[in-house]
C-alpha cells in the first residue's frame, strides 16, 4: 500500500500520518480519497502558511477566502460573487477541453454560491510565439474558452494574453467568473442536520478525469502527453441546465448547503461539506448516477466528470427539488445522509468500502513550511545607462505591432462578449464594464499581472500586480473593491521558487492593505515546471470595482480634436525590466519600477474624482510600454491623431516615452478644463503636465516622419492573425 500511495503522490511521511490517523492500513478507496484530499491542489499544503498574510477584511466583504468564491456587497441589497482559478496542467495536455472545463469549473464555483454568472475573464500565458507548440495551444485554448462560455451564455469580457518563452512547456490558463446574487441569499457548503438527505444532481459520473487533482499537483516531464486521460471533458449544455435548475431551486428554501464537484469530484465535495459542518456523511455509491457500467468505489469517488453538484436538503424537500431537476432533464439522486459520527462512510451494495475520520482529511491535512531563499535584488537601470538602438517612432511601431502589445482582437472575437446585453465596455479598454442588470450601475472587471517584474523582484512585482488591477478599475471610474488571485508558480520544493512565492505574497499583501483592496478568494497552482525548469512567478490578480453612475464612466478613446492630453504622475525614466528594454534592446536586466503605494492611492483617487466629476473626456492608465504606447492606444481607439509635445530635456527621450514608472494616468479634457486639472494636481502635490494635443490622423512631434494611424493600426492588428497563419 505504501508503494501505491507513492504513485498517488503521497510522500512516505504523509502515508505514515494517514495510517496513524485511521489506526490501520487504508483500503484502496480510502487511499484514493486521502491522496486526492492531500494533493497540493486540494490541500494548499505548501502555500497555506503564506496565504494567511493576505488582508481579507473590509466592511463590504461578505465572504472571504474559504468558500467556493468570495462575496462582496455592492449596494441595493446585491452582492458580487467571484473567483479565479487555474487550469494550467490540463490545458497544456489537452488545450480545448482543459481550457473549457476550467471555465466550467469556475462558473460552477460562482453559481454554487447562489449567484447568476454575469461575466467571465481569463489570463493566458503562452510560450514564445515561434515555439512549435504555441499556435496549437493558442488555437485550442481560445476555442475551448469560447466553446464553453459562448454556449452557456455568459459573456467573456476581458483578460490578458501573454507570450513568453518562460511558459514554453507550462502554459497558464486562469479563468475568472463574476456573478450577481442577493446579499441575503448566499449559499455555502457547510453541511448541517443529522439525518438530512445528501443529493447528487447534474450530469452522470464516468471514468473521466480520475486523479486530475493529483496530476495537477506534479511537475511535467517528457511524458506529459501520456497524462491526457486525466483531463476531463466539458459539456456546457448540461452546465447551462444545471445553472438554471440550481438557481430555480435556490429561490426556494429547500437547500441547506451546496458544493460543486470540481477537483477530486465526489471526494472533495463530500469531505469539505461534512468537515466544514463538523458532521459525518454516509454515501451509498451504487445510487450515484453513472454513465458507464462496472465502476468501482475508487473510480466513483475520484472521477472528475463535470457539471455535477452535491447538496444537503431540508428533510421533506426532496420531491420539490426533484421536480425542478426533472423539468431540466437532469439526474437527481438521494445518495446518502448526514450523520453525527464525524466520519466519511462509503458503501457499495450495503458493504462498507471506506470508513475514514474526516478531521485529518480536511483540517489536519499536512502543512509545510518549505525552505525558501529570497530572490537577489537587481540594480536599478537609469535611462541614461541604455543607448536606444532605434528611434522612438520605430520603437513605438515595433512595440504596438509586437507579441506583447499587438491587438488581441483575434482572441476576443472568438468569445461572445455581448450576450446578456449588459456589456457596457467591451474588451480592449482598461477594464471591462458590465452593467448590473436593470440599473444604471455597473461592475468594472480586470485581470492583471506583470511576470517580468515578479521575476526581477517578487515583492515589487506582487505589489504591482495588485496596483495595476486597482489602476485599471480606477481608469474607468470605478471604486476598486476586492480581488481574487491565482498564484501560478513553479516547483515549491525548490527554495528559490518558494522565495518567489513568499516575495509575491508579501508584496501583494502590502498593496492590498494600502489600497484597501482585500483578497476574497483565490487559487494556488504550483509545480508549473517541466524537466526541472519553472515558469516565471505569475500571481494573476482579478479585480472587481463598482461604478455607481454609468453616466460618469471613462473610456480610453480620444474624443475630439483640440483637447490637450494630460499626464498625471511622475516620469523618472525607469527602463529596467520594461517592455522597451526587452523588445527593443533585447535585454531583460534591471530592477522593476519602484511602486509607492501612498502615491498610487493619491493619484488614483484624484483621477477617479475627475472621472466622477465628468471633467475628462477619456482616461487611460499607463502600464506596459509606458507613455507613448498609452497615447497610441488612445489614438487608435478614438481614430484621432495627436501632436506630441517635445520630451523634457532632462531625460533621454526613450526614458520619457517608454519608461514604466508607476502610478500614472493620461486624461483628455477641454483646454480650459485641462488647465484647471493641471493646476489642481500641482496644488495637491501630484505631478501633471500636458504631453500633447488631440488631432489629425497621425502621431506627430517625434523625430522623423509622422506615424500615420493607418500604419500603426496595420501593425497593431496584423500581428495576431499573422501568427495564426491568417491573412485577413
Amino acid at each position: 500500500m505504501a508503494q501505491v500511495a507513492r504513485e498517488l503522490g503521497l510522500s512516505a511521511d504523509e502515508y505514515r500520518v494517514l495510517v496513524d490517523a485511521i489506526g490501520r492500513e487504508p483500503t484502496m478507496t480510502e487511499l484514493g480519497v486521502a491522496s486526492a484530499m492531500w494533493s497540493e491542489h486540494c490541500s494548499y499544503k505548501s502555500s497555506r502558511v503564506w496565504l494567511r498574510q493576505f488582508p481579507t477584511q473590509a466592511p463590504w466583504v461578505i465572504q472571504g477566502p474559504g468558500e467556493n468564491a468570495g462575496v462582496i456587497a455592492i449596494g441595493d441589497g446585491l452582492a458580487a460573487v467571484f473567483k479565479m482559478e487555474s487550469h494550467n496542467h490540463p490545458s497544456y495536455i489537452e488545450p480545448y477541453q482543459g481550457a473549457a472545463t476550467g471555465v466550467g469549473g469556475i462558473l460552477r464555483d460562482v453559481f454554487t454560491m447562489g449567484a447568476r454568472p454575469i461575466a467571465n475573464l481569463n489570463a493566458l500565458h503562452f510560450g514564445a510565439p515561434d515555439h512549435p507548440k504555441s499556435r496549437h495551444l493558442v488555437a485550442g485554448v481560445v476555442a475551448g474558452i469560447g466553446g464553453y462560455g459562448n454556449c452557456i451564455g455568459v459573456p467573456t469580457v476581458g483578460g490578458l494574453t501573454v507570450f513568453d518563452g518562460g511558459y514554453d512547456d507550462n502554459i497558464l490558463v486562469n479563468a475568472m467568473t463574476v456573478g450577481l446574487a442577493r446579499a441575503d441569499r448566499i449559499f455555502t457548503s457547510a453541511a448541517a442536520g443529522i439525518g438530512n438527505p445528501v443529493v447528487y444532481v447534474g450530469a452522470k459520473t464516468g471514468r473521466d478525469g480520475i486523479h486530475g487533482a493529483t496530476m495537477a499537483s506534479a511537475a511535467f516531464d517528457d511524458q506529459a502527453a501520456a497524462k491526457r486521460p486525466t483531463v476531463q471533458v466539458g459539456d456546457p449544455f448540461t452546465e447551462k441546465l444545471l445553472l438554471e435548475a440550481c438557481l430555480e431551486l435556490m429561490a426556494t428554501d429547500a437547500i441547506i448547503s451546496i458544493q460543486d464537484m470540481g477537483a477530486a469530484g465526489l471526494t472533495s465535495s463530500s469531505v469539505e461539506m461534512a468537515s466544514k459542518g463538523n458532521v459525518g456523511i454516509e454515501l451509498e455509491l451504487d445510487r450515484v448516477p453513472m454513465r458507464e457500467t462496472g465502476m468501482n468505489a475508487y473510480e466513483i469517488m475520484l472521477s472528475e466528470s463535470q457539471e455535477r453538484m452535491l447538496m444537503v436538503l431540508r428533510p421533506g424537500a426532496e420531491d420539490r427539488a426533484r421536480a425542478i431537476f426533472d423539468k431540466w432533464d437532469l439526474d437527481f439522486a438521494v445518495i446518502g445522509r448526514i450523520t453525527g459520527t464525524g466520519r466519511l462512510v462509503l458503501r457499495v451494495a450495503g458493504e462498507t468500502v471506506a470508513d475514514l475520520p474526516l478531521a485529518p482529511l480536511a483540517d489536519a491535512a499536512p502543512v509545510y513550511r518549505r525552505p525558501w531563499v529570497a530572490t537577489p535584488p537587481r540594480a536599478i537601470l537609469a535611462a541614461e545607462d541604455v543607448v536606444a538602438p532605434v528611434g522612438d517612432g520605430e520603437a513605438l511601431v515595433r512595440l504596438m505591432g509586437g507579441a506583447h502589445l499587438a491587438s488581441r482582437r483575434w482572441v476576443w472575437e472568438q468569445y461572445d462578449h455581448m450576450v446578456m446585453a449588459d456589456t457596457v465596455q467591451r474588451p480592449g479598454g482598461d477594464a471591462a464594464v458590465v452593467r448590473i442588470h436593470g440599473t444604471g450601475r455597473a461592475l468594472a472587471l480586470t485581470a492583471d499581472v506583470t511576470p517580468r517584474y515578479c521575476l526581477a523582484d517578487p515583492y515589487v512585482g506582487g505589489a504591482q500586480a495588485v496596483a495595476e488591477a486597482w489602476r485599471n478599475l480606477t481608469a474607468v471610474g470605478a471604486q476598486p473593491l476586492a480581488i481574487t488571485d491565482c498564484m501560478n508558480f513553479g516547483n515549491p520544493e525548490r527554495p528559490e521558487v518558494m522565495g518567489q512565492f513568499a516575495g509575491c505574497v508579501e508584496g501583494m499583501a502590502a498593496a492590498c492593505e494600502a489600497l484597501r483592496f482585500p483578497v476574497v478568494s483565490g487559487n494556488v497552482s504550483l509545480y508549473n515546471e517541466t524537466n526541472g525548469v519553472s515558469i516565471p512567478p505569475t500571481p494573476t490578480v482579478g479585480g472587481v470595482g463598482l461604478i455607481d453612475d454609468l453616466d460618469a464612466m471613462a473610456i480610453i478613446a480620444f474624443k475630439r480634436a483640440g483637447e490637450p492630453v494630460v499626464l498625471i504622475g511622475a516620469t523618472r525614466g525607469h527602463v529596467g525590466a520594461t517592455l522597451w528594454l526587452g523588445a527593443i534592446c533585447a535585454r531583460d536586466d534591471g530592477a522593476p519600477p519602484a511602486l509607492d503605494l501612498a502615491v498610487e492611492l493619491r493619484h488614483g483617487d484624484f483621477v477617479r474624482g475627475l472621472i466622477r466629476g465628468r471633467r475628462v473626456s477619456a482616461c487611460h492608465d499607463l502600464s506596459d510600454g509606458g507613455l507613448l504606447v498609452g497615447i497610441a492606444e488612445m489614438a487608435l481607439a478614438g481614430d484621432l491623431g495627436v501632436a506630441l509635445a517635445p520630451a523634457p530635456e532632462d531625460l533621454p527621450s526613450h526614458g520619457w516615452w517608454f519608461a514604466e514608472d508607476q502610478s500614472r494616468y493620461l486624461v483628455t479634457a477641454t483646454p480650459g478644463e485641462a488647465k484647471a486639472i493641471v493646476a489642481e494636481a500641482e496644488n495637491q502635490g501630484i505631478p501633471a503636465c500636458v504631453v500633447g494635443t488631440v488631432g489629425g490622423d497621425a502621431l506627430t512631434g517625434l523625430d522623423g516622419e509622422p506615424i500615420s494611424l493607418k500604419s500603426l493600426r496595420n501593425a497593431h492588428e496584423g500581428w495576431f492573425p499573422a501568427l495564426m497563419g491568417e491573412n485577413d
Binding site: G153, V419, E726
Partner: protein, 229 residues
C-alpha cells in the same frame, strides 16, 4: 402587442430579446417552454439566440423537433409573424420555416463583433422603421452563420424581395471583407414567402440600448410594435 419567446434547453438570448421587446413597449412577453405542444394567441413569436441542445448534432436540428415547434409552425403557416434570431434562424431553417441552411463559418471560428448590414427590404412588419438601403450596425455572435442555398433558391429569394439584410461595408458595399462568415451573396437574413417569418444571424437585441454602444437594433422591435400593436 402580445409576444411569446420560445425557450429551448440552452436558449441564452431569451432574456435579452425580452428586454428589447419590453423597451420598445412590446408589453410583457410570455415564455413558451419547449415541452409545451400548444401556443396561446399571440401577435409575435420569437425564436431567440443560444445553443439549443448545445448545438450537438447540428445547430437547430434537435430543437426543430421539439413539441413547441409543431405549434409554432402551425401559427406561422396561419400568418403569425415569427422573428428567428441566430440560433432561432438555424432552428427555423431546420424546421422548414425558411429555405436554406447555416453552415460553419468560413473561418471555422466563432465570431463576435459588430457588422454593418444593408436593409434590403423595408416593406415588412419587421423592417418598416428602416429605410430601404439603409446601412445599420448590429452585432453577430455565432459559429454557424454561413448561409447556403442552391442557386435557384437564392435567385428566387432575391427576385421576390425576400433577402432581408446583407453584410456590407460601412459604405454599403457587399464585399467579401464585410462578410463575417462566408454567407452566400453576403446574405444575413431572409424572409419566408409571405414575409411574415424573418430569420437573421445578427442580434438586433444587442444594440437596442445606447448604453451598449448603439440603437440600430431597436427599430426592428419598434417596427413590430407599430405593426402589431
Amino acid at each position: 402587442m402580445k409576444a411569446g419567446v420560445v425557450v429551448f434547453p440552452d436558449s441564452n438570448c431569451d432574456r435579452d430579446v425580452m428586454v428589447a421587446l419590453r423597451a420598445a413597449s412590446g408589453g410583457e412577453p410570455v415564455v413558451l417552454w419547449h415541452k409545451e405542444s400548444s401556443v396561446p394567441p399571440l401577435d409575435l413569436i420569437v425564436l431567440p439566440g443560444g445553443f439549443s441542445y448545445g448545438d450537438y448534432l447540428r445547430p437547430g436540428a434537435m430543437a426543430a423537433h421539439s413539441p413547441i415547434m409543431r405549434a409554432v409552425k402551425e401559427r406561422a403557416t396561419a400568418g403569425t409573424p415569427v422573428l428567428a434570431i441566430c440560433n432561432g434562424f438555424q432552428v427555423a431553417c431546420e424546421a422548414g420555416l425558411l429555405p436554406g441552411a447555416l453552415l460553419r463559418n468560413a473561418s471555422l471560428k466563432y465570431v463576435c463583433r459588430d457588422v454593418h448590414l444593408r436593409v434590403e427590404q423595408s416593406q415588412t412588419v419587421f423592417t418598416a422603421r428602416y429605410a430601404q438601403g439603409q446601412v445599420v450596425r448590429i452585432p453577430v455572435g455565432h459559429h454557424d452563420g454561413n448561409y447556403v442555398a442552391d442557386a435557384a433558391t437564392l435567385d428566387r429569394l432575391e427576385g421576390e424581395g425576400r433577402v432581408a439584410f446583407r453584410y456590407v461595408t460601412p459604405e454599403g458595399e457587399p464585399t467579401a471583407g464585410a462578410n463575417p462568415n462566408g454567407s452566400a451573396r453576403n446574405i444575413a437574413g431572409v424572409f419566408n414567402e409571405t414575409r411574415t417569418v424573418l430569420g437573421l444571424m445578427p442580434h438586433p437585441e444587442r444594440l437596442a440600448d445606447i448604453r451598449l454602444g448603439g440603437t440600430d437594433g431597436r427599430a426592428m422591435f419598434e417596427s413590430l410594435v407599430e405593426a402589431l400593436a
